[in-house]
């Protein structure tokens, strides 16, 4: 199988996707190894919930398998398309959190960290995700793609199918709104002025 995976190494995503659509059994494995880690990371960063992030990753990949036969080369990159799908799926889930207490904290997951440090990191990430949930969908998507995925404004414009100027506006307003939401919890999250 390794030799087979090696033969796909330089192939672009759309070529592997086409091979999958044409019945190549290894193509799905190659695409999954290539794409799922990034998809899962994006979902985890936006949701701060491992189980939900895994569901989103599975759902996003399912959409990819379903569209494979109709994929039109040159319209969009597979990675760009997946960023959009994951962002949409995550904002769908974040929307359901609106009205849920911002204090709700997910279970700590990293066994290497001390319990206190782990608790603080988890509470910070959960606070960020729950604050994102309070933003309008487009602001939440733009902010997460810019500041959590580290993408450039032109890349985000392509993913969201809007102008670069709109991306700048959405991220600026989104970041300001996040600061307003989280300001009240600064001390609670360990961000007192002299401790940052």
């Amino acid at each position: 199988m390794n030799a087979r995976l090696g033969s796909w190494r330089d192939a672009p995503d759309y070529a592997v996707l086409l091979a999958y659509a044409n019945g190549d059994e290894e193509a799905a494995r190659v695409l999954s190894l290539r794409l799922v880690p990034r998809v899962l990371a994006q979902a985890t960063r936006m949701l701060a919930d491992q189980a939900e992030a895994e569901d989103v990753a599975q759902e996003a990949m399912m959409k990819l398998w379903e569209i494979a036969a109709e994929w039109r080369q040159g319209e969009a990159q597979v990675s760009t398309w997946l960023y959009r799908v994951v962002a949409n799926l995550c904002t769908d889930r974040l929307r359901k959190r609106r009205g849920v207490s911002l204090d709700q904290i997910a279970e700590p997951t990293d066994p290497q960290m001390s319990a206190t440090a782990q608790m603080q990191e988890t509470s910070r990430l959960t606070a960020l995700a729950n604050a994102l949930a309070q933003l309008p969908d487009r602001q939440a998507q733009a902010v997460s793609l810019r500041h959590l995925e580290g993408l450039t404004n032109p890349e985000i414009a392509q993913i969201m199918d809007i102008s670069v100027r709109s991306v700048e506006s959405l991220t600026a307003r989104g970041k300001k709104a996040l600061a307003d939401i989280l300001a009240a919890r600064k001390a609670e999250l360990g961000y007192e002025d002299d401790k940052i």
Partner: protein, 117 residues
């Protein structure tokens, strides 16, 4: 109202914390995704019924449909403006041409009725 420096730093720290999150997909998740891939390929969309596709297949495909269309257009055109060769062929075949005036008697009937009245 602008963000204060400490709020800005807090957000930057939270974003950096988020960017540092890089979960490794579990074997279970990968297995579920690969299972989905197999199932998605196994389910092919049912063909949609199309009257024209059925008709086309019945007569023998696009070449036959093209031939039928050409024959129909030619027939209509001959009806509107028959070529002289067709007209002479018809008279040769039938032997003579007969003209029937359907309204001739009726016209005289109306004329007589008018006089009698």
């Amino acid at each position: 109202m602008k963000m204060t420096k400490s709020e800005d730093q807090m957000l930057d720290d939270l974003f950096a914390l988020g960017r540092g999150t890089a979960p490794v997909p579990s074997d279970d998740l990968m297995a579920r995704i690969l299972h989905d891939a197999t199932m998605a390929r196994a389910v092919e969309p049912a063909p949609k019924f199309s009257f024209w596709a059925g008709f086309r297949d019945m007569v023998g495909g696009w070449p036959a449909v093209g031939g039928l269309a050409m024959a129909g257009v030619t027939g209509v055109w001959f009806g509107i403006a028959p070529p002289t060769s067709v007209a002479s062929f018809a008279s040769d075949l039938i032997g003579t041409s007969v003209t029937v005036d359907l309204f001739d008697d009726t016209s005289s009937f109306f004329a007589e009725a008018s006089i009698d009245g």
